[in-house]
Symmetry: C2
Subunit: 402 residues, 2 copies
């Protein structure tokens, strides 16, 4: 399903084509987060209009509402949502983390370095998850009902949801977990991966599911420990998954993140695609692509848009905050060089007014811009990889390859 | 600015063309409510796509935020919002009512017959408005600051906002006001209308304002009292306004509403357009058009959409409620005969999921459908007026001409 179209001589970067049952992803590619089968504030036609290539929905949330049977009855995720391009589903493993240890530890995937920029709950509290060898028991955030996830049940749910690429149940550990816990969790995740692979094989030929072309990826865990990451990449890499995702704790700093990728990627089969879960800051994108990441997802660009923070190359952190009083009568678009529908039609002054007034039209306009910005950034990055100019492009963006 | 293109022999209905500085409105026409220069949840390009002809913004709300000077600096309402079609601004008179007597009396414009379907506050409370001969004093709902509106200041604010059609400050009385109060308020509204007319004349040739083609309409008041309505129509009708709006209390029943129109419209100059403020239920539209109303605005269709209630001809009250469990796996669009972007792409089942999940994408999709529905209904109505089939069309819609 994956074809490498160019491999850099200077870095670990590559370009490729990831063929799915719903079209080909040109990689490296940004995958937008559509937790409940909707990228927040933007309808699928709008996603297509800004050139977005793929979305990732969440198995846990869709299982709770509307339920996988309802999604399947409406044609699977594609028929259900009207998004006709490539899709992925995350497994619920991140929810095992964020409702469990993330809540107990009060941290996200990377401890304390991105305050407000990830999905982890900020307030500490008791875990809402119980884990055993068999699987994970949650309380539903919708109605409080108990809800069990096993590696097998998650694959069944995902077969019904019908995404093009599905991920097995894993345990995403916290940066504050110690080595012993991280190792035990990793080993359980490996056993779960084998069970998921078997369940997937048994269901693979069942024509009742909405997407026969669906592929299962494996997830590498191991926290920020070198030997564990190398072992996890080797074990998961040997299981003949169609591709691989890198999940779990990425340590306590950006440098820790890059090291995790440096340990992991060389140990994975190079003919398969590599997805980095939940990372998408601009400097992260350059560093991850330079290490051979093909796809990545992140909720931050869309969440930032909703909070008033929109991308502008060259501004501090390549963002401006629309609530800033300086923009009140600014008649320029967010980015005069942007070709998104928002920049074509609306000024910073009007967007500030909509944002400050809480007008619903604001959220879509700001989100379309941030999505278009990332789509164009990845277009530039693919060109730079093929032209062996990735480091120069990173420098142009005020960052490095890490 | 108004040209009657057909006058019915059978009813008071007519078709016409209302020429503004930003295009021609084919009448009868629905005007969407864009209180803060945004139809809730839909960007201006989306409004154009569903064929909407005009919007009405609110002087009071835009004065408070972002302020008329900010709007003027960004090119007036058209440049500011990116909506390039005809616009109106209401004067703030309705806020005099809803923050004042409406709050004291706990009622809307029509007492108790449309629970939940108008903008009046439901809870009774102390008035937040003080009225005098000079004007009205409000507390800002944004920051609590005191804010004075006089007939002259409102015209100045509206000149800066730059809508194509502006309305003078008036006092919208409550259905629970007695005859003496209603008469005194009407007479003051007449004096305010004269002051507004004079202020408008003094500012008409000032090139610093963003819309030199702006026209001032008069507002008829008089509550549900026949002699007062006839007097107000005569007095306001004699003041050489470019058109007329019918405001204020419309009584306690639909029959009261029709009677108010029956008293008012024949007393107005027939060569000028007639706008009905704040009314837009389907049966109201037929009855109002049959009496000679050319344009009308109503927030209900867009608010209903946000609450899950979407139009479907033939359903009870021509609406279905998307939260209804029966739609969970319904793969049909809201209306299979509808040509809106929502019905082209999305099923009732998906829309229910978005609505129940509070997904932001829901609000735009539902609102686009309800707007398109009204645009097409008014297309049908104009055809029916020209074909002398308005009563038959009303019957087809399960209603009458009232």
């Amino acid at each position: 399903m994956f074809r490498e179209t160019y491999r850099s001589h200077l870095t670990g970067a590559r370009t490729g084509e990831l063929a799915t049952a719903h079209g080909v992803l040109r990689t490296p590619a940004f995958v937008a987060v559509a937790t409940r089968a909707s990228v927040k504030a933007v309808e699928p036609a709008g996603l297509a209009r800004v050139g977005l290539q793929a979305v990732i929905a969440n198995t846990y949330h869709l299982h709770l509402r509307p339920g996988e049977d309802a999604v399947a009855a409406l044609g699977g995720l594609h028929g259900f949502s009207g998004w006709h391009g490539p899709t992925m589903t995350d497994s619920g493993g991140f929810q095992v983390f964020s409702l469990g240890a993330g809540k107990e530890h009060g941290v996200g995937k990377v401890a304390s370095i991105f305050p407000g920029d990830d999905d982890a709950p900020r307030a500490r509290g008791a875990s809402l998850v119980k884990l055993s060898e068999e699987g994970a028991w949650f309380r539903s955030v919708v109605d409080g009902a108990e809800c069990a996830f096993t590696p097998e049940s998650v694959v069944t749910v995902e077969r019904k949801l019908g995404a093009d690429i599905i991920l097995p149940l894993d345990e995403c550990t916290s940066p504050l977990h110690d080595r012993a816990y991280t190792q035990a969790a990793m080993e359980r995740t490996h056993r779960w991966a084998r069970r998921a692979r078997e369940a997937y094989r048994l269901l693979a030929d069942d024509p009742t599911f909405p997407n026969p072309g669906q592929e299962l990826f494996g997830i590498v865990q191991g926290g920020a420990y070198e030997d564990l990451r190398r072992e996890s990449a080797r074990v998961i890499g040997d299981m003949d998954f169609a591709g691989f995702a890198i999940g779990g704790s990425l340590g306590r700093s950006k440098d820790d993140m890059w090291r995790v990728l440096d340990w992991t990627i060389p140990a994975l089969p190079s003919d398969r695609p590599r997805h980095l879960l939940g990372i998408g800051e601009i400097e992260d994108i350059f560093a991850a692509v330079a290490r051979g990441i093909d796809t990545f997802d992140c909720a931050a660009p869309t969440r930032m848009a909703r909070n008033g923070s929109v991308f502008l190359k060259g501004a501090p952190r390549h963002r401006i905050h629309l609530r800033n009083a300086a923009f009140r009568t600014d008649d320029r678009p967010i980015d005069p060089s942007c070709d998104c529908p928002t920049c074509a039609e609306h000024s910073r002054g009007y967007l500030q007014h909509l944002c400050r007034s809480g007008e619903l039209a604001y959220y879509r306009l700001a989100t379309l811009h941030n999505l278009r910005f990332l789509v164009r950034l990845l277009d530039e990055i693919r060109d730079a990889v093929r032209g062996e100019r990735l480091a120069a492009l990173a420098a142009e963006w005020g960052t490095t390859l890490g």
